[in-house]
C-alpha cells in the first residue's frame, strides 16, 4: 500500500474527529460536535426483520437508485432488499445530508487507500491492522450503511423512529454528487 505518514495522520485525525468509522470503544466526539450515537438515535436504529416487516426493493444502477423516494411511517421497520444491477460498487446509507457529507470524505479516503475499489471491497485490506500506525482499524461497518458489490443483493433492516429529514445515499466518490441519493418521505 502506498501511504505516507502524513496521509495516515490526516486519516487518523479525520476518523477520530467524526467517530463514524472507529471501533465503538475508541470513539470520542469532539465537544460541540454531533456525536455518532446521538445522530443514530435521531435517524433510527438497526432492527431485526420479522415475517411482518415490510420489504422495500431498491435497485442500484450506475449511478442511481430506483425508486428515488421511499415512503415510511415514524416507528416503522423496513427491510430493504438492495440489488446492485450496475457495474460499480454502491452503498445504501441512511442518514442526514450532513452525515452523508462527512461520510463522503471517509469513503474518498478508503478509495484512495485501496480499501475500496470502484467495483468492490478489497478483502485483504479491510481487516488490516492500522493500530501500529496510531489509528484505529479502518472499517466500513456503520449499522446504517451497507456496501453492495456489482450483481450482488444485500439487505438492511432499519427502524425509523421519528420523522426527520433523511436521505438514503451512496457516498462512493462522485456518486452522491451525480444524484445517487433518494428521499425518505415520512407519511402520517
Amino acid at each position: 500500500m502506498r501511504l505516507n505518514a502524513r496521509t495516515f495522520y490526516t486519516a487518523a485525525t479525520l476518523l477520530t474527529a467524526t467517530g463514524l468509522l472507529v471501533a465503538p470503544g475508541l470513539a470520542f466526539a469532539a465537544p460541540g460536535e454531533a456525536g455518532h450515537k446521538h445522530e443514530t438515535a435521531a435517524i433510527g436504529e438497526p432492527a431485526k426483520a420479522t415475517a411482518k416487516t415490510r420489504t422495500v426493493q431498491v435497485v442500484m444502477g450506475d449511478n442511481f437508485y430506483e425508486p428515488e423516494t421511499i415512503p415510511v411511517k415514524a416507528g416503522e421497520t423496513i427491510r430493504f432488499v438492495l440489488k446492485n444491477q450496475g457495474e460499480f460498487l454502491h452503498e445504501f446509507n441512511i442518514g442526514t445530508a450532513t452525515m452523508h457529507a462527512s461520510h463522503q470524505k471517509e469513503m474518498a479516503m478508503m478509495m484512495e487507500h485501496g480499501m475500496l475499489t470502484p467495483t468492490g471491497i478489497n478483502k485483504n485490506m479491510s481487516g488490516m491492522d492500522h493500530s501500529k500506525m496510531g489509528m484505529a482499524e479502518m472499517k466500513h461497518d456503520d449499522p446504517n450503511s451497507v456496501l453492495v458489490e456489482p450483481s450482488q443483493t444485500k439487505e438492511l433492516t432499519w427502524k425509523f423512529t421519528k420523522d426527520t429529514a433523511l436521505e438514503f445515499a451512496c457516498n462512493i466518490p462522485g456518486h452522491y454528487e451525480s444524484g445517487m441519493v433518494g428521499k425518505v418521505e415520512f407519511k402520517r
Binding site: F64, E68, P173, G174, E177, S178, G179
Partner: protein, 599 residues
C-alpha cells in the same frame, strides 16, 4: 421540463417557440413517419447582426437571432429537421459538432458532398439522434464561427439519465474580437508575434546560436529558435473578449440556484482560439461527462479546456453565497466570468489572476522522427543588432558576453540590477519571470502543463476520465496512423505531417477496422484535434473504459494516442480546432472506405 426552463433564457425560449410555430411546413417523405413537428423541427436563419459586450457594440453573425444561437434541446432517438436559411452575402454552413450522422448532414463544405449554403438559400438538415449528451453547433465556413455562429445542443437520453440535477445550465464559452477575423489571420501571417504581448527574445538567441555553429553544446536540437516560436506561445491571438453565453465579464451571466440543489453545468468551449483553465473558487466540480459522453464521476477543482471540448459538471452550493465561474485563457490575457447565485444581480469575488506559463524545453520533449530538414526557409536575416561575435562555447547555462542591449523587444525593465556584462553561468532564477525552478513560483508558471493550480487543489487530467460504459470494441488496432502536428509559427503555416490541407495525402482506413492514431505534436502549441463523424477513444491508461472524445487536446511537444472503430463511412474533416490553425492548413481528410464494392 422543469430543468430546461431554468437553462433557457426567456428570450431563447420565446425564439424556440417561434421557430416551432413555423415548423408546419415540413416535407413528408414517402415511407417515413410524419414528424410530430414542434420539438423535432425548426428554422434557423443566419444573418448579420450587432452584439453588445460589456457596453461595446460590434459586428457579428447570428444563427436563429441570437449569440450564442438558441440551445437546441432534443431527445435521443428523435429524427430532427433543421431548415437553415442564409441571409448573408457569402456562403455559410452549420456543422453539428460531435453528432454521429450521415456525411452530407455533417455540414462541412468540401467534405462528403456538402456544398456551402449560398446567399438566400435554405438548406434542410435531417438526421436521427443516435446519442445523448452535450454538444454544439457552429459554422464551418471561413471565420464565421468566431463572429458568433455557435450554439449548444443538449440531447436527453432515451433511457434514464445517470445524472440527476435540480438545475441544468449551458455555459458556452467563446472569444470575441471586434476585429474582422480575416484581418486577424492576415496580421498573423505578416508578423508571427503580432499578438504576442510577452515576447522573449532568447528565442532569437538560440536560433542564431544554431546558425553560428555555437550550438554544438546545445545537444537538444529542438531548441526554441529552430521551432521559430516563442517561449510564450500559449495562444497566438490576443485582444479577445471572453464570453460566457455571449456575455462579457461585466455583463456577468448568472445561474440561479437554491442552496442544497444540484446544478448541472454543461460547459462548452466554443471559442475560436482560446484554451481556458476553468474553476469555480469554493465549489468543487464533479465531472460527469466529457464531450457529451458519460464518465465515472470525478471531483475536481479545475480543468484545462481545449477548444471544441465539452464537460458536464455537477456543483452543489449549500450556502446562499455568490460563486464566480472563472475561465482564464491560458495566455492569461483575460477571462470569461459568470456567477452562480441565489438571485440575479449578485457578484462573487473575482479570484486573483494566475501567472502566465512560460514554456520550457521540457515541453519540447517530443518529436522523435521530426524532420528538421524540412524546415526550410528559416530567415535569420532580420535580427538587427544582435551581436553574437563574442560568444565562445555558448550554452544554455552560460551566456558570457552576450549583448542583451541589442535584442529588440526584450524587456529589461523587469530585470533590475542585472549585470549583463558579467554572466558566467547565468542564473535564470534571479530574473523575475524567468525562474527555471521546476516547482514553479507564484510569479511564474513553468511549462505548458502548469496551470498554476494551488497545492492541494485537484486539476482534471485526461487520465482521470473513465467511460461510464465499457468500451465495446476491444480488438487490438490493425492499423496505426501517425499524425504529426507541424507548423512554422513565423509564416503562420500550420500543417499535418508537414503538409497543408489539400496538399497532403488523405488518411484512408477500411470500414469496420480498429485503428490507432498517434498524434505527435512537434510544435510549441497545444492543438485540440477534432475528428468529425466518429468518436475517438483516448488511450489514457484505462483498458476497457477508454473515454470517448471528439476533440483531443495534444499538449506541445507531446504524443497522444487514441483508438477508433471506423464504422462511419465517409470523408470526414480531421483538423485542429484552433480556427486560424485550421484556416492556415492544419486539416486533412479522414476517409473511411467501404471494404468491398458491395458495401
Amino acid at each position: 421540463m422543469h430543468t430546461a426552463r431554468h437553462g433557457l433564457s426567456r428570450r431563447d425560449a420565446l425564439k424556440l417557440a417561434g421557430a416551432a410555430g413555423l415548423a408546419g411546413i415540413i416535407t413528408v417523405y414517402p415511407g417515413r413517419r410524419v414528424f410530430a413537428a414542434a420539438d423535432q423541427s425548426l428554422n434557423l436563419a443566419v444573418e448579420r447582426t450587432r452584439i453588445t459586450i460589456d457596453g461595446e457594440t460590434s459586428g457579428a453573425i447570428s444563427i436563429g437571432g441570437s449569440i450564442p444561437a438558441p440551445t437546441l434541446r432534443w431527445r435521443e432517438g428523435q429524427e430532427v429537421v433543421i431548415h437553415v436559411t442564409n441571409r448573408l452575402d457569402e456562403g455559410t454552413s452549420i456543422h453539428w459538432h460531435g453528432l454521429l450522422l450521415q456525411g452530407i448532414m455533417d455540414g462541412a463544405p468540401g467534405f462528403n458532398g456538402f456544398v456551402p449554403i449560398g446567399p438566400g438559400e435554405t438548406y434542410t438538415y435531417r438526421f436521427k439522434l443516435r446519442q445523448a449528451g452535450t454538444y454544439w453547433y457552429h459554422s464551418h465556413s471561413a471565420s464565421q464561427e468566431q463572429e458568433g455562429m455557435y450554439g449548444a445542443i443538449v440531447i436527453e437520453p432515451a433511457g434514464r439519465d445517470p445524472v440527476r440535477a435540480d438545475r441544468d445550465y449551458v455555459v458556452l464559452l467563446s472569444d470575441h474580437t471586434p476585429e474582422n477575423p480575416e484581418n486577424v489571420l492576415r496580421k498573423l501571417k505578416v508578423s508571427e508575434g503580432y499578438y504576442n504581448n510577452n515576447k522573449r527574445t532568447l528565442v532569437d538567441f538560440f536560433r542564431d546560436a544554431q546558425r553560428d555553429g555555437l550550438g554544438a553544446t546545445i545537444n537538444d536540437r529542438l531548441a526554441w529558435g529552430e521551432m521559430r516560436m516563442d517561449a510564450t506561445d500559449l495562444a497566438d491571438v490576443t485582444g479577445y473578449q471572453f464570453l460566457v453565453n455571449g456575455k462579457g465579464p461585466r455583463d456577468n451571466w448568472t445561474a440561479v440556484y437554491n442552496p442544497g440543489e444540484r446544478v448541472r453545468l454543461r460547459i462548452i468551449n466554443g471559442s475560436a482560439m482560446s484554451i481556458f483553465d476553468v474553476r469555480i473558487p469554493g465549489l468543487p466540480m464533479t465531472v460527469v461527462s466529457a464531450d457529451g459522453q458519460n464518465v465515472v464521476p470525478v471531483k475536481v477543482d479545475e480543468f484545462r479546456f481545449g477548444v471544441g471540448e465539452t464537460y458536464d459538471v455537477i456543483v452543489m452550493p449549500t450556502e446562499d453565497n455568490p460563486f464566480t465561474f472563472f475561465a482564464e485563457s491560458i495566455d492569461r490575457t483575460g477571462y470569461a466570468r459568470g456567477t452562480l447565485a441565489t438571485r440575479e444581480g449578485m457578484e462573487g469575488e473575482i479570484p486573483e489572476r494566475r501567472p502566465r506559463a512560460n514554456l520550457t524545453m521540457a515541453d519540447m520533449a517530443m518529436a522523435p522522427g521530426m524532420d528538421h530538414g524540412s524546415m526550410a526557409g528559416m530567415d535569420h536575416g532580420n535580427m538587427p543588432g544582435m551581436d553574437h561575435s563574442n560568444m565562445p562555447g555558448m550554452e544554455q547555462g552560460s551566456m558570457a558576453g552576450m549583448d542583451h542591449g541589442s535584442m529588440p523587444g526584450m524587456d529589461h525593465g523587469s530585470m533590475e540590477g542585472m549585470d549583463h556584462s558579467n554572466m558566467p553561468g547565468m542564473d535564470h532564477s534571479a530574473m523575475p519571470g524567468m525562474k527555471q525552478d521546476a516547482t514553479g513560483s507564484k510569479e511564474q508558471a513553468m511549462g505548458w502543463g502548469d496551470a498554476g493550480t494551488p497545492p492541494g487543489a485537484k486539476a482534471l487530467s485526461y487520465a482521470d476520465l473513465k467511460a461510464l460504459s465499457k468500451t465495446t470494441d476491444l480488438r487490438e488496432p490493425t492499423q496505426e496512423i501517425e499524425v504529426q502536428l507541424t507548423g512554422m509559427m513565423a509564416r503562420y503555416i500550420w500543417t499535418i505531417n508537414g503538409q497543408k490541407f489539400e496538399e497532403g495525402t488523405p488518411i484512408r482506413v477500411a470500414y469496420g477496422d480498429r485503428v490507432r492514431i498517434r498524434f505527435v505534436n512537434t510544435t510549441m502549441m497545444a492543438h485540440p484535434m477534432h475528428l468529425h463523424g466518429m468518436f475517438v477513444e483516448l488511450e489514457n491508461g484505462q483498458t476497457d473504459r477508454m473515454p470517448k472524445k471528439h476533440v483531443v487536446l495534444v499538449p506541445p511537444g507531446q504524443a497522444t494516442t487514441v483508438q477508433l472503430t471506423a464504422n462511419e463511412p465517409g470523408e470526414w474533416p480531421f483538423h485542429c480546432h484552433l480556427l486560424y490553425h485550421m484556416a492556415s492548413g492544419m486539416m486533412t481528410r479522414f476517409i473511411v472506405e467501404p471494404r468491398t464494392a458491395s458495401l
